[in-house]
C-alpha cells in the first residue's frame, strides 16, 4: 500500500513535466509570434529585436522550456501577453477565486438536491415519486448546458424577469443563481442516482432491521443508520464531480460573462497568450490528477474488496 502510494505520488511530477512540455511545444508550434502579440500591430524593428532578446525567444526551445520550468518551480508563471505588465499569478488569483465560488455553488446545489431527492426516492421505493426521480436521473445526466442555459434564461430572466441574464456580483447575489443551477443539474442527477442506489442497498441490511427491532424511532434509524451509511459512495464520487464540474464551467462562464478561469482561458487561447494557457494547463492537470489519486486511494478504505498495489492501475 505504502509503495503503491509512493509510486503514484512520484509519477505525478513526471506526468506534469510531460504535460507541460506537450503544451509548451504546441504553443511554439501554433500560429502567432509572441513578440507581435506583446507589441500589438505597430512596432519598430529595433523594439522587436530588443523584446525578442529580452524574452529569450532566440534560444533553443529546450533552453526556453528549461527556463520556464525553473521559473514555474519558483512560483513564477511569467507575464501575460495580452494584459501587459501583469503577472500570470496575479491575474489567475482573482479568476480562480471567482470560478471556485461558482463551482462551489453548483456543487452545493448538486449535493443538497441530489441527496434529498435520492433519499426520498429510495425510502418511497415504487411510488410515483420514485419513478419520477429515476426518469429525472436518466434525462438530467444528458442535460447539456447548451439546452439548460437558454431554457433557464427564457423562464427566469426573460419571462419572469427574476434573475439577471449575465454578469457577476460575487457569491451572495442573484447573478450566481442561474449559472450555478445549470452547472449543477447534471450533478444533481448523478448524486440522486448514487444516493438512491446506495440507500436501497443499506435499507436491506441486517443492522437496519436490528435498529428497528430494538425500537429506535424511525427518524433516528433514517438519519443515523441509513443516511450515514448510504452517503459513503456519494462522498467518494465527489472527487470525480469536482473535476467534471470544471468542464461545463467554461461554457457557462462564457454564456453568462462571468470573469473566471474558463473565460480567461478561452480568451487566451484566441489571443495566443501562451503564458496563461501554460499556467492553466499545469494547474488544471495537477488538480485533476490529484482528485483522481485521492478517489483511487479512498475507494479501498471504504470498500476493502478493492485491492491496490499488485497491478499499477492509474486513474
Amino acid at each position: 500500500m505504502a509503495t503503491y502510494i509512493a509510486r503514484r505520488l512520484l509519477w505525478v511530477p513526471v506526468l506534469l513535466l510531460i504535460v507541460s512540455f506537450i503544451t509548451f511545444a504546441l504553443g511554439r508550434f501554433g500560429p502567432g509570434d509572441p513578440v507581435q502579440i506583446l507589441l500589438g500591430q505597430n512596432f519598430r524593428e529595433d523594439a522587436y529585436e530588443r523584446i525578442r532578446k529580452q524574452q529569450g525567444l532566440d534560444d533553443n526551445i529546450a533552453v526556453q522550456y528549461a527556463r520556464y520550468i525553473g521559473n514555474t518551480l519558483r512560483g513564477d508563471f511569467g507575464e501575460s501577453y495580452q494584459y501587459r505588465g501583469r503577472s500570470v499569478t496575479d491575474l489567475l488569483k482573482n479568476k480562480i477565486w471567482i470560478s471556485a465560488q461558482l463551482n462551489f455553488a453548483a456543487l452545493l446545489i448538486s449535493i443538497s438536491l441530489g441527496v434529498a431527492a435520492g433519499l426520498f426516492a429510495a425510502l418511497k421505493q415504487g411510488s410515483w415519486w420514485d419513478s419520477a426521480m429515476v426518469a429525472f436521473t436518466l434525462v438530467g445526466q444528458s442535460m447539456h448546458v447548451f439546452l439548460t442555459i437558454p431554457i433557464a434564461l427564457l423562464i427566469f430572466s426573460l419571462k419572469l424577469q427574476w434573475l439577471p441574464t449575465h454578469g457577476w456580483d460575487g457569491f451572495f447575489s442573484t447573478s450566481i443563481i442561474l449559472p450555478a443551477l445549470v452547472l449543477g443539474i447534471p450533478g444533481v442527477a448523478i448524486v440522486t442516482r448514487l444516493t438512491r442506489a446506495s440507500t436501497l442497498d443499506v435499507i436491506g441490511q441486517d443492522y437496519i432491521r436490528t435498529a428497528r427491532a430494538k425500537g429506535l424511532p424511525e427518524r433516528l434509524v433514517r438519519v443515523r443508520h441509513i443516511l450515514r451509511n448510504s452517503l459513503i459512495p456519494v462522498v467518494t464520487t465527489l472527487g470525480f464531480s469536482l473535476a467534471g464540474l470544471a468542464s461545463g464551467s467554461f461554457i457557462v462562464e462564457l454564456y453568462f460573462g462571468i470573469p473566471g478561469v474558463g473565460l480567461l482561458t478561452i480568451e487566451s487561447l484566441f489571443s495566443r497568450d501562451y503564458p496563461i494557457i501554460m499556467a492553466v494547463t499545469l494547474l488544471g492537470t495537477t488538480l485533476f490528477v490529484l482528485a483522481n489519486l485521492i478517489v483511487d486511494l479512498v475507494y479501498p478504505v471504504l470498500d476493502p474488496r478493492i485491492r491496490l498495489g499488485g497491478d499499477f492501475v492509474a486513474g
Binding site: 504546441l26 504553443g27 500560429p31 427564457l154 449575465h166 487561447l269
Partner: protein, 322 residues
C-alpha cells in the same frame, strides 16, 4: 430441448460465440426503450448521411424575405435570420456529427484503442508500461483541454500548408469542403478517446489470457496473432460495444463545444455548435427562441439516446453484471 438449442452452451467454439452474440442482440431487441433509442439514433444518423438527398433545402440557401419565421408547412422548424431552413441546417449539421463521430471513433477508440489495449494486456511488461503511461499523459489533461489546445494550435498551421498546396497545384476544394476541419478535429478527438478503450480492453485481456483455452492454443503452436484475434478479441468485444455507444455521445458533444467556441467546424459548413453559437445571444433568445432551442434539443436528444442505449447494451451484453 431440440428447439431451444440456441440457448445451450454448445462445445463448438465458433457456434457458441455466434450464439452469445445472437442471444445478446435478442435480449436487446426485447427492450422497448433501447429499441426506441436505436430507432431515434438511426433516424438522426440517417438524416445526416442522406442530408443532400432528403433535406428540403440547401444548408446555405438564403431567402431574406422569409427570415426568422416560425414553424410552417414549408419550413417545419422555421427559418433563421438569413432565411435559411432550420430543418435542412440541422440535417446537414448531423452530417458533420456523423463524419466526426464515426471517423474519430473508428480511428481513436476502435483501431488505436483496441489494438493497443490488446497489446498492453497480452504482452505486459514494457509494452504495457509504455502504452499505459502515454495514455495517462493524454488523459491527465482536464476534460477536453488537450483537444482544445491541439485544435487551436495545429489547425491554423495545417490550414496554412494546405493553402500553399492548393495554390501550388490549383486544387481548390480541400479547404472549401471542410476536409481540414474534419480531419484535425477527428484526430484530436481520437487522441482524447483512445485511452478509455485501451484501458478497458487491457483489463478484459488480463482476465481472458489466464483462461485454459489460451494456454491450450499456445501449446498447440498458434501464432500470437491468431491467439489475439481468434481467442482474445471475441472475449473483449461486448464491453467494447457498450463503451462505443457512450463514447459516441461524448465525441459528438465535444465537437459541438469546439465548433461553438469557433475553433471547430468553420461556417459555412454547418454544425450544431455553429448553429447554437450563431443564435445564442440574448436578443435572439428573446425574439426567436426556437433558433437556439432546436439545435440544442437535437444535441441533447442525441446524448440522451446514446446514454440510454449504452445502458441497454450493457444489460443485454453483460446480463450477469446486474
Amino acid at each position: 430441448m431440440q428447439g431451444d438449442a440456441q440457448s445451450l452452451q454448445l462445445p463448438d467454439t465458433d457456434r457458441r460465440s455466434r450464439g452469445y452474440f445472437y442471444l445478446s442482440l435478442r435480449r436487446l431487441s426485447r427492450k422497448k426503450l433501447s429499441m426506441a433509442c436505436l430507432t431515434i439514433i438511426v433516424i438522426l444518423y440517417g438524416s445526416g448521411i442522406f442530408a443532400p438527398v432528403v433535406a428540403p433545402y440547401g444548408y446555405n440557401e438564403q431567402n431574406l424575405s422569409i427570415a426568422k419565421e416560425g414553424p410552417s408547412l414549408g419550413h417545419p422548424l422555421g427559418t433563421d435570420r438569413l432565411g435559411r431552413d432550420l430543418l435542412s441546417r440541422v440535417m446537414f449539421s448531423l452530417r458533420t456529427t456523423v463524419i466526426i463521430t464515426v471517423t474519430s471513433l473508428v480511428t481513436g477508440a476502435l483501431i488505436i484503442g483496441v489494438t493497443l489495449g490488446l497489446i498492453a494486456g497480452y504482452f505486459g511488461r514494457m509494452a504495457d508500461g509504455i502504452i499505459m503511461r502515454v495514455g495517462e499523459v493524454t488523459s491527465a489533461f482536464p476534460d477536453i483541454f488537450l483537444v482544445l489546445i491541439i485544435v487551436a494550435t495545429v489547425k491554423p498551421r495545417i490550414l496554412q500548408w494546405v493553402r500553399g498546396f492548393e495554390d501550388a497545384t490549383g486544387i481548390d476544394w480541400i479547404i472549401r469542403l471542410g476536409i481540414v476541419d474534419y480531419t484535425v478535429i477527428s484526430l484530436a478527438l481520437a487522441a482524447f478517446s483512445w485511452f478509455g478503450m485501451a484501458r478497458l480492453v487491457r483489463g478484459q485481456v488480463l482476465q481472458a489470457r489466464e483462461n485454459q483455452y489460451v494456454e491450450a492454443a499456445r501449446a498447440m503452436g498458434s501464432s500470437t496473432r491468431r491467439i489475439l484475434g481468434k481467442h482474445l478479441l471475441p472475449n473483449v468485444i461486448s464491453p467494447v460495444i457498450v463503451s462505443v455507444s457512450a463514447g459516441l455521445g461524448a465525441v459528438a458533444g465535444a465537437e459541438v463545444v469546439l465548433s461553438w467556441l469557433g475553433i471547430g467546424i468553420q461556417p459555412p459548413t454547418p454544425s450544431l455548435g455553429v448553429m447554437i453559437f450563431e443564435n445564442g445571444n440574448i436578443s435572439v433568445l428573446r425574439s426567436d427562441p426556437h433558433l437556439t432551442l432546436v439545435p440544442s434539443s437535437v444535441l441533447v436528444l442525441l446524448l440522451f439516446t446514446f446514454s440510454l442505449l449504452g445502458d441497454g447494451l450493457n444489460d443485454a451484453f453483460n446480463p450477469r453484471a446486474r
